[in-house]
Symmetry: C5
Subunit: 365 residues, 5 copies
């Protein structure tokens, strides 16, 4: 019965490592699930005065044609990672370390930041709740910040960065005045903002379960609590490293990040802090919900026991009396007396009333 109602996710955690064990590090294979997504990219160049956008599908010989302009911010947003050769060329073009490329192509990375001589490499997760399968869909987003360029890698096409492109389009927008580091900040801020949606969703779910707990707890409710707890455990793995990530951004005085940006990073840090804090609150609340559930089960049991006990113990003495006078002894003087029957009925009634009084006093009725 329960089996039908409850959805059992097929994979709890994805923990496979990137490739065949023992293969040399730096071998590039895309290990994600979206291998059928066609790769393409958007190349945006802008500064205070100018804004150029070009979009195209990726072909194998394209990497050489990037025309990075020094006095502009150059943003290349790549979607679809199945075209490994292109990624390799990008890596070559921007002089990225082989392990960085490996991490970009392996979508099971933890969120992290790594600083290199002339660029910063950031891995983050975009999370979406898949209502149908009751799972998080996670997508890895890799960001490279160089001197005057940002390269972003997405596993599949989405409208995620559209608001930012729109903001760049506006001629006098702040983003147009600022450098590549500010663009990076905008991208990170956008990704973090999406987490608030997840948090609200979880919040709503907790409220629903609470309502059920009070009105009508069922075994299914417990299973929902369990699944929710697991979601939060999983979510923490994506959110907690962000704290360290942004912390590092603040501390490491990279030349790529201007001092002016520090206050914006502090702002992101505040958001992440609030998310982690709320996640921890959720965890504690879920512990409380478990206690509620178990106790409500106990209360039900108590009620059942009470009914059984009241009815059983009320009728058992009466049944005994009835059985007693059903005996077939020849010499039972009571049986022949005319008043025996009414007297017995009175007795039985008194016992019945006494019993009810006893249960009332015990507060069972």
């Amino acid at each position: 019965m329960i089996k039908k109602v409850i959805h059992i996710p097929k994979k709890i955690f994805k923990i496979k490592k990137k490739k065949k064990i023992g293969e040399p590090p730096g071998t590039l294979i895309y290990t994600g699930e979206k291998i059928k997504v066609k790769s393409n990219y958007v190349f945006i160049k802008y500064n205070k005065d100018d804004f150029v956008i070009s979009e195209s599908e990726i072909e194998d010989n394209e990497a050489e044609t990037f025309n990075i302009e020094k006095n502009k911010v150059n943003w290349i947003n790549i979607t679809g990672l199945a075209n490994v050769k292109f990624i390799e060329k990008i890596g070559h073009f921007f002089d990225l370390h082989p392990l960085v490329l490996e991490d970009i192509l392996n979508p099971l990375q933890r969120p992290k930041i790594e600083e290199f001589d002339n660029y910063i490499f950031i891995v983050m997760k975009k999370l979406l709740w898949n209502e149908e399968r009751e799972e998080f869909n996670q997508e890895q987003i890799s960001l490279i910040l160089g001197n005057n360029f940002v390269v972003s890698f997405l596993e599949e096409e989405s409208d995620l960065f559209k608001p930012i492109i729109d903001r760049i389009r506006i001629p006098k927008g702040k983003i147009r005045i600022m450098g590549a580091d500010y663009l990076l900040y905008c991208l990170i801020d956008l990704i973090v903002d999406n987490y608030f949606i997840i948090m609200e969703f979880l919040n709503e779910k907790i409220e629903n379960i609470e309502d059920t707990l009070v009105s009508n707890p069922e075994p299914k409710t417990l299973h929902e609590i369990y699944e929710l707890k697991k979601s939060i455990i999983e979510l923490r793995k994506f959110v907690w490293p962000l704290r360290e990530l942004v912390n590092k951004l603040q501390r490491e005085q990279s030349e790529l990040i201007s001092d002016e940006l520090q206050i914006y990073i502090r702002d992101i840090y505040d958001h992440i802090f609030r998310i982690t804090e709320t996640l921890d609150s959720f965890r504690e609340i879920i512990f409380g919900m478990l206690d509620m559930y178990l106790s409500s089960v106990s209360n039900k049991m108590n009620e059942i026991m009470k009914v059984l006990t009241i009815i059983s113990t009320t009728f058992i003495p009466l049944s005994f009396l009835a059985g007693f006078y059903g005996m077939n002894f020849k010499y039972m003087p009571e049986l022949t007396s005319t008043f025996s029957y009414p007297i017995l009925i009175i007795c039985m009634f008194s016992i019945f009333i006494l019993m009810l009084y006893f249960f009332r006093r015990k507060k069972w009725l």
Copy 2:
């Protein structure tokens, strides 16, 4: 049944982010609930010799008219944040960072302190217990400490700061001799003092639940424990950051805060420490209360079981005997004997007594 008794708050945590995701940072929108509160401000200027207070509703062109006097402490207390334009002008006048203004207008900030070149920005929470809805009402209070000025932002009008204004009025009061930093300290101290009221309220609530636990535990009691636990979880989120906040005030040797003030800050720190400590004690006590509750439920069940068992097992053998001699076999020698009936009664009585003795020895009676 339970449904009617228990109040279910509609929103556990408010976790919405400030604005539409993707909007540029620095866009000013007031996101709190008190949008109908009319904005007005009080402007107080004082030093050892002088004290001037002026109060007025906010009009759009007013920001330019602040007359900050160098040799006085200037305190501008603003209530009502719906007039975004005015806040923006204030920000312009005091040269505040756009993100600071954003934080002031978004009342879901964590308590925090941020140091800028020529001012310190502090966010705190004023908490009030809403007896009716069994929730905390939180109001965000933002404070700006500059060289010789303090700007305070409240979401709605209240008498909160009245005692401090009264103290400033007194010509020879300490506050009149000290600088703007001391005024800031007084404001923070006042806000922290309000937390002690919340703590006492929680204390009382715990005591009430304890009384109920001992005398008459009900499912409702468990729900109260659960709600109390959630309140404490929420409260911690407002109180814990204060520790770090005051810590930072102590460590960061800002020029805006004189050395003389350190001992006063240490005093606030002590208070906050006591509050957090007490909150943690509450949490531990609540865990104990849960055990109490669950065990009292078990005890009730035991008692019910005992009654059922004693009555059932006492009468079952007797009923069997009665049934036995109710059989209609033709050849049952006992039935015809004159002494069978009294002997059986004696037997039954003996069994009854033996049973009672057995239960007494088991300490069930």
Copy 3:
């Protein structure tokens, strides 16, 4: 029933803040409970060669008369804090900060140490177990260590420091050779030593509960565990800060504390460490006791269930048989047969034996 047996303390935690919210810091009001204790003081001056003791009740104009001698250790032990004016004069005489005086007069301070330019201020707690009310009585003890003087403030008169006065009286005692810092050490050591008595008391209490748990667990036992746990939670709040306190004494190289004293402070630290460690052990043991209790309740229930099940299920089939042959059908061939009755008795007996064998095999008997 339970209600009568269990003592419910009226106040769990005292968390009131010092005075009316909003009052200026530094306003002196004694907020403790012992307002009727008459203030008096003992003034002891000693060095290697000399020992002078003078005792007197406090009058308002006395503070000026302290005759601090430079080449002696001067110890002023004040008992009773209701005479605020005198405390104020003391503060003036020794040049104490207003907040220090406030802390001395507010007996809800956490144990702490604060270093000032020319004196060290220490707050500690003297704990006594009030057997009658099953509560800790706490008394605040404030200590001021100056260059060649110690001032101690007690809430009420007691023999607490008598052993130290006796030791000072001895002409060649170590204390006579050492400075004011050594006197401070002796006072702290004495206060910490008193905690061991509390620990032994708790130890005994745990042992008593353990005995009860094994022999005869009752709901009252659970309540005792709960109260014990709360006592330990409260005690921790007084003991843990001591660790930090002594730690600070060790680290901060104050001129007031000679190097020679460090090893003695380390000794106190060891004692405090042992106390905190034992407190934590107690906590863990209490968790174990809860499990013991809950499981012993379960075991009792199991036993009750067994008795019910054995007697019910043994007699139910027999009763059915008896009922069966009590039916009044005209054509029941068994009823008329002469051997039916003895055969039935044999059958019933066999069923009875089989049932017992079944329960024996299940290890219920």
Copy 4:
């Protein structure tokens, strides 16, 4: 019944110390279990241009013959540690500290790293799941990194390092260009990679138990949870120290490890971090599973109770009525009336229906 189904491992933890207590440190005895494994070694020398591999069984006088070439990377892979004399000679040849040799021969070491003047000593664990005995098989792997050599010690022969040898064989492979430190990195990376297999195995096991929990929880399930928890506790002891190990590799600027390698070490660190993180998630999930199990047991009990209560309480009043009219009183007017019997049947039927309605309203049916 349970006894047969559940496998009870004979040894939980191996905690014996290396040798007879009191023996001088540095006495070499192999204390592992694989004493019958014949020792042999593979000696590989390679650089960009050259690759030489020689393999041979160990004889006692062989140690002197190692021909370490300065401009090549020299890798000696020793399998089988029972030949203590040979190990001793190796130690002598490479000038290893006696305690290092002792650690190599004692396979109960924690994973650790120790830096010496001219070499680094690393202990790691290779873990294999023994499906048959439901235990981890652990094998200790010791690694020595010198200036231009790596010595690896394995307890028994295996194909573990085969992929690396294959990679060295490839003339233009990266490993051929890099130094001995890169070889060390490859070995560590390989060992860590094997942990992912264990993690996936545990993942699968958790999923299996979850399925059982939902569909058909049995006491055996609980035992599986318990054993799984123990496996994770054991696993943590092997994995957590790795974090510190790699951390040390990063921090301690040994001359033996080139700067270029830092990024590769960071990569290993990421993997280890993910493993520990996942292990901790597993632990939390297992706690949740326990709650699920206990609550499903409670639910079963509730269901049983319901059936008992419904049937008992429905028939008990009816049985009483039947017994009542089975009494043998002479003067029972109802017995002689013609309509008594059908009326009684109607009554009984009504009671039966009422009872069912009552249970339906209680949601027991």
Copy 5:
């Protein structure tokens, strides 16, 4: 019943402080239990070439006669601490601080290390499991390391240090070449090695309980778990401080400890780390065992309930039918029909079969 089986230790923790509260620090009284142990000592002097051992009972005037030779390692091993005067003389001879002597004589110290100007003072615990009383016997061992001497204090005579004396006797042993610091290391190593025996004992005990849990859990088992938990709590108090102790030995660059010894100290640290780690694993396992126990109790209850329910609910409808046809109504047409009786038997049998089928479907049979 349980009362007889379970041993209740009379004292959980020994927490008495050393002497009467208020006595001056430095007053020497032996506060241990072994006051009847006669004091004696062994004096060993050795270097590479020479070895002298002298043994004698302690008399009061002996302390002056120690002939410490500068170019030898001098080891004085004292057993029995009741002779306080002698200890005092030793203290005088080696210029030990009065508090050190106090700690040596008070066997309730925590393990610790204290560094003085010209010696290091170490307190450790020797633990033995007292099988009979099911308690740990702890004995305090104090060690003093001076420039060229080691003084060790034991509470009672034992063979503990015999293996080391034997090793010193060997002319070319490593210990003969090394200094006093190496001797200290050997002593500490020996004491730590003894802890592994305790760990194995606990391991065995856990395994025994696990076996019982699976095969035949009883209330006694729970009590064993509880006592085991308490032992582990106590043991942690002796083992955890060792970590800090050895850590300090490593960090503090005392001149008394040569650099060469660092690697040996690291070895001890590894052992202590393994012990603490295993202790923590034990703790976690014990938590799991509790869950196992509680759930096995629940399972038993379920089984009992099932038997009760199956037998009760099967026979209750049948008994009703039997009672029904036992009624004495004059006009019951069924009673006179010839086929009623066999039809009823068939009905009853059908009900019986249906019931069994129902229980089988519920998986109760």
